[in-house]
Structure formats: structure tokens, C-alpha cells
Amino acid sequence: MQEVYQATVDALFLLIAADPGIWEIIGISFSVSLQAIIYITPPSLMIAFLLAYGNFRGRRALVSIFHTLLAVPAVVVGLTLYILLSRNGPLGDLKLLFTQTAMVIGQMILAFPIVVAMAHSALQSSDRVIWETAKTLGASPQRAMITVMYEARFGLFAAIVAAFSRIIAEVGCSLMVGGNILHHTRNIPTAITLETSKGEFAQGIALGMVLLILALVLNLFLGSARYRFEAA
């Protein structure tokens, strides 16, 4: 107990004293996960829209495929990507294994089905009347789509936040394709996993607190946005 107490005090000290080592790790986490989210958001929202409003064969099958992909464990994504990117793998020539780019790709694969599935349900439950109103007032299909998305923005925002929360705390894939290399691919979850196993409790607790605070902030933010929306 004494040990945990001491480690927590050390952890707070690390954070408050802005220990460069720890902030570098935090920076890598945010940089990788934000890139992944930024790249997948536009295509995921488009696909979610087509799944909700499109009228083509195989639409339902596609929706269930995306729901199935939600359940794929991060280590399985990591393993697959590892095999593809390893020196003898089909994409080995790209020399991406153990780089931040590989981590970004892995997190994109993890975030993609989350945003599609959650954005799809948000758009599916949005009112068809929105689309018809936009169309009848002369909007092009693209413009009508943007209007529908704007009206469903809180649901879409929740989808993006949920995906971000998942990938920034995800360890399996980042560890496999990133390799936890200090100053390079060591991010919050890989640092917690590996450094804690070496007895570095303070750092682990400090990083864990960062993830908790992030989760808290994102949820408060979402909650207040939703409150404003429902009050309207």
C-alpha cells in the first residue's frame, strides 16, 4: 500500500513537473490517434450516410459486416498488419513496420468500423423529413447530405469521440506494429503495459491518469453538447 501511495505521489510529480519523457509519450499517443481519426472520419461518414440513405442491394449485409468488424480484437488487427508489413510480407518493401505510420494505419482500421456503425445508427434514426425538406427546397444530393449530417451532428460527434477513446487506449495493435520504441513509437498504452511490468509504477499511474482525465473530459464535453441539443 505504501508503495502504491509513493508511486502515485511520484506520478503526480511527473505530470506537474512536466517530465519531458512522459510528455513525449503523451504527444506520440495524441499525434498517432488524431491522425488516424482525421483520416478515417470523412470516408466513414460518407459510407454511414450511404448505408442509411442509399437504396442498393446488399446494404443490410454491409451493415452487419461493419457490426461484426466492431468485435475484431485489436491484437488480431495488429497481427494481420504485422504479417502484411513484415520484411517478407506483401507490403514489406514499404518498410513501415515499427513506425508511427504503421500505428496510424492500425488505429485507422480499428476506428473505421466504430465510426461507420455508430454514425450509421445516428443517421438511420434521423428524420427522413430532413432529406426531403432539403431536396424540395432545391438542394443537390450532396448539399442535402451535408444538411442531414449537420442535423445529426451530435450523434456523429459521439461516434467520432467513441472511436477516438477506443484507439487512444488501445494496446494490442500499437504494440505489435509499433514495437514500443522509446522516442519513436512508445505511446501511452504501450508504455503502461511494458514499463509497469518492469516495475515503473509511477510512470504507469501518471499515464493512466492522463487517459482517465481524457475520458472524463470527452464525456463531459459530449454530455453538455447532448444536453444543449435535447434542450432545443
Binding site: 428524420d127 425538406t133 427546397l137 444538411t147 442535423e151
Partner: protein, 239 residues
């Protein structure tokens, strides 16, 4: 609307139910037509077809004596008409932005846009509500926003789906007045309603929709205006 518009052999099927089977329906410029019918008789479906929002299984449209297939007619219907939902959707933004929507969507230059929106807001008696969020308005105010938002794009014809259903008396009266103003401005209008009394005084023609067919209702004699004792004559085939 320039020239008349005629719909022929419109058929709409849901499952194995033939909901609509309209031989012919003609709209003349500046005319105001009432389509009445029970709940579920297909009024909404018919108005959405006429606005190009919904595709019938069959049907042609004749404009300026040129008969068009549905595929060809649909974009024309979409650009000429505005359909107003029974419960109009208010975009989650100010009244100003709601009214400006159609002008922005059709890329009217900003300099012209603002002036036209203010003019429209005055027309709809909405000046004092301009900055308010349209979602927070009362039913009658929403209907006024919806009518103003439709009129500003200068449609060839307006399709009003039960415009006074579930409204209190005061709002209903305001809505009738706006519709009559649109009529005086020469707008071609089709109104659907299942309670016809109020509208039968202001329309030029009245049809009763039943079992998928439109029947012309005589509006000459006042006591026949009630649906239950309306004089119903089949609509003449091919005019």
C-alpha cells in the same frame, strides 16, 4: 407555373395494395386545388409523387403539350415544386437561416440573398422572430416559417400537406390568410386535407381521393362541402 401540368396514369403500389391509380390530374397556372380524403387514403403519397420526391410505379407528366416519361419529368417536378410536410421540419438554426436555405442551396449571390430573405421575413410576419432558433417555435410559427421558406424559392407550384392539421384556432387562421395571399400572388397550389370545411371556401377545385381514384367534388353549393355528403362524380377520363 408556366403552362399547365398534367399527370396521367399515376400508379403507386405498396406490397400488394394499389394505393393510387389516378387516370389523369391536371394543374392549371394560378389555380388552387383541394384534395381531400380519409387518413391513409394516399394524399401524402400523391403530393410527394407530384413533387418528385417519390417515384410511382407508373405514370407520365405532360408539360406544355409535351409528354415526358417519369425519369425525364422527375427533375422538372423537383425544381418547379416545393412540398410542405404536414409537420414541417425546422433546421436546427435561426429562422433567418431556415428561410435562406433554398437560396443558399441554389447558390444565389450573397448580396441578393440577404435582401430577399428580409423581404420574405416581412411577408411571413417573421421579422421579430428572425434570430430565434426555429426548432423552438410554436406550431403556427413553424408553419409560417415553412411557407415563407417555400415561397422564397419562387416555385412553380406549392404542395401543402394538411397545412392546418393539429393546430390551434389562431394559428389555423393565420395559415389560411397566408395561403390566400399566395393565391392572390398567382401561386399554383395543391392542398391536402382530411377536414375540408375551411379550405373548400378558398379553393378553385376540390377532389376527393378514395380507393386510389380522384373524384371531382362540386364546390358550387355550400351545403355539399362536407365530405360525408359531398356530391361525388367520377373524374372524367382524359379530360
Amino acid at each position: 407555373m408556366q403552362g399547365s401540368l398534367r399527370f396521367d396514369n399515376i400508379e403507386k403500389v405498396y406490397g400488394d395494395r394499389v394505393l393510387l391509380s389516378i387516370d389523369t390530374f391536371r394543374m392549371n397556372p394560378g389555380e388552387c386545388t383541394l384534395i381531400s380524403g380519409d387518413n391513409g387514403s394516399g394524399k401524402t403519397t400523391l403530393l410527394k409523387i407530384m413533387s418528385g420526391l417519390l417515384k410511382p410505379e407508373q405514370g407520365t407528366v405532360t408539360k406544355n403539350e409535351i409528354t415526358l416519361s417519369w425519369i425525364k419529368a422527375r427533375p422538372i417536378l423537383q425544381s418547379e415544386s416545393v412540398y410542405l410536410h404536414q409537420a414541417p421540419y425546422m433546421f436546427d438554426t435561426s429562422v433567418f437561416n431556415n428561410v435562406a436555405y433554398g437560396l443558399r442551396a441554389t447558390k444565389v449571390p450573397k448580396s441578393q440573398m440577404e435582401e430577399r430573405v428580409w423581404q420574405a421575413l416581412r411577408w411571413g410576419n417573421l421579422d421579430h422572430l428572425t434570430p430565434r432558433n426555429a426548432k423552438l417555435l410554436s406550431g403556427g410559427e413553424r408553419q409560417r416559417v415553412a411557407l415563407t421558406r417555400a415561397r422564397i424559392v419562387n416555385p412553380g407550384f406549392l404542395l401543402l400537406d394538411e397545412p392546418t392539421a393539429s393546430m390551434d384556432r389562431g394559428s389555423r387562421q393565420q395559415t389560411y390568410e397566408l395561403i390566400q395571399r399566395l393565391q392572390r400572388e398567382g401561386m399554383s397550389i395543391v392542398i391536402s386535407a382530411h377536414d375540408v370545411e375551411a379550405f373548400s371556401n378558398i379553393v378553385d377545385r376540390h377532389f376527393f381521393l378514395e380507393a386510389g381514384h380522384l373524384h371531382k367534388v362540386d364546390i358550387g353549393t355550400k351545403q355539399h362541402k362536407h365530405k360525408s355528403n359531398a356530391v361525388v362524380t367520377p373524374f372524367p377520363k382524359n379530360r
